[in-house]
Symmetry: C2
Subunit: 198 residues, 2 copies
């Protein structure tokens, strides 16, 4: 027996969420209707509001609701340092680590030609003028150590070095508290290769 | 650095979905804003529409958009059989199995006193008049073989039997294609206990 069409449409619409397949979407729809209609109404309103209000910071490209975000406007940040990250979640992790006082640029992705994500999609056309504003002295590449993240770091690094900027990459190695016996061999090999004077 | 408040609210609202924790909610919000704003708009509209339009069938209690659903109105179903299931997903599975031509009653849950789900929450006050309409001759209990499902079947069965109805329970046993060597011992024990003449 067919489900009512509004329910079918809700199940289909829930599948736009990453990692949600047909079974999960069905379970979510039933849950919302049966157990949490006020949560569903809140979600509908939050989606609409976020779509209307959230935009990209003109300076760092992160999500914000003004032209320039609070972090970029803060006088307590060092404007001579620019850290390039793949996504907003990476920026949050950097801030939680409390190890960095400079500014950011959020690429909103990583190079992945097979998925149609090229230099334009990671906003290289905005990163280059941002990094060559005359104030930035060092660009720190903090993209992931995945194939896409490494390719992105290489590509972005080349483009910025060609313009005379100092470009660095965050270190790879054993995690803090990491034991040699239990680390994967790739990480261990890199840690040996990139060893430094003790 | 704080995320914009509309984004925070979207992340919080996404957590009303079952199985979605803080990390997934964050990933979903970023995905929707960055990669699928049209999907987000569609989801917002689908939620609102489902909340407005979807209601419960007056006869079987399943979700529908009219007073009585298409299945209950169908002249091709046998009104002397009433199958009691826990949720709409169970009804769909029964229909897919093409083994049943009677009508249904959807409890929208199973008894679970610890979670505050008692006889009222599974709509026993509607099931009893439905089952004792004079047309229904047999009620088939097709709740899950879980603790909650078994308790529900027992409770509902007692209530209906007390009103003079014939009540049956779907069979437990080895699955079709099941191998004795690989089945769990509880199922095997039940299959032996509930053996029938060959």
């Amino acid at each position: 027996m067919k489900a009512p069409s509004s329910l079918d449409e809700l199940i289909a619409a829930l599948r736009c969420l990453p990692g949600v397949g047909p079974k999960s979407a069905q379970r979510m729809a039933y849950h919302l209707l049966q157990r949490d209609p006020s949560g569903a109404a809140r979600l509908a309103a939050a989606l609409t509001q976020a779509l209307t209000r959230v935009r990209h910071c003109e300076s760092c490209n992160n999500y914000c609701e003004e032209a320039v975000c609070g972090l970029c406007k803060s006088p307590r940040r060092d404007p001579s340092l620019l850290c390039v990250v793949e996504g907003p979640g990476d920026l949050l992790m950097m801030e939680q680590a409390q190890c960095y006082q400079g500014l950011y640029f959020v690429l909103m992705g990583a190079l992945s030609p097979l998925d149609g994500i090229g230099p334009r999609e990671i906003h290289l056309d905005r990163l280059i003028p941002r990094a060559t504003d005359g104030v930035v002295r060092e660009v720190i590449l903090a993209t992931n150590f995945t194939v896409e993240g490494e390719a992105t770091a290489h590509y972005v690094g080349e483009a910025l070095r060609a313009r005379g900027l100092k470009v660095t990459r965050i270190a790879r190695g054993l995690p803090v508290g990491g034991e040699i016996e239990h680390v994967d061999s790739g990480t261990l090999a890199q840690a040996v290769l990139e060893r430094r004077e003790a």
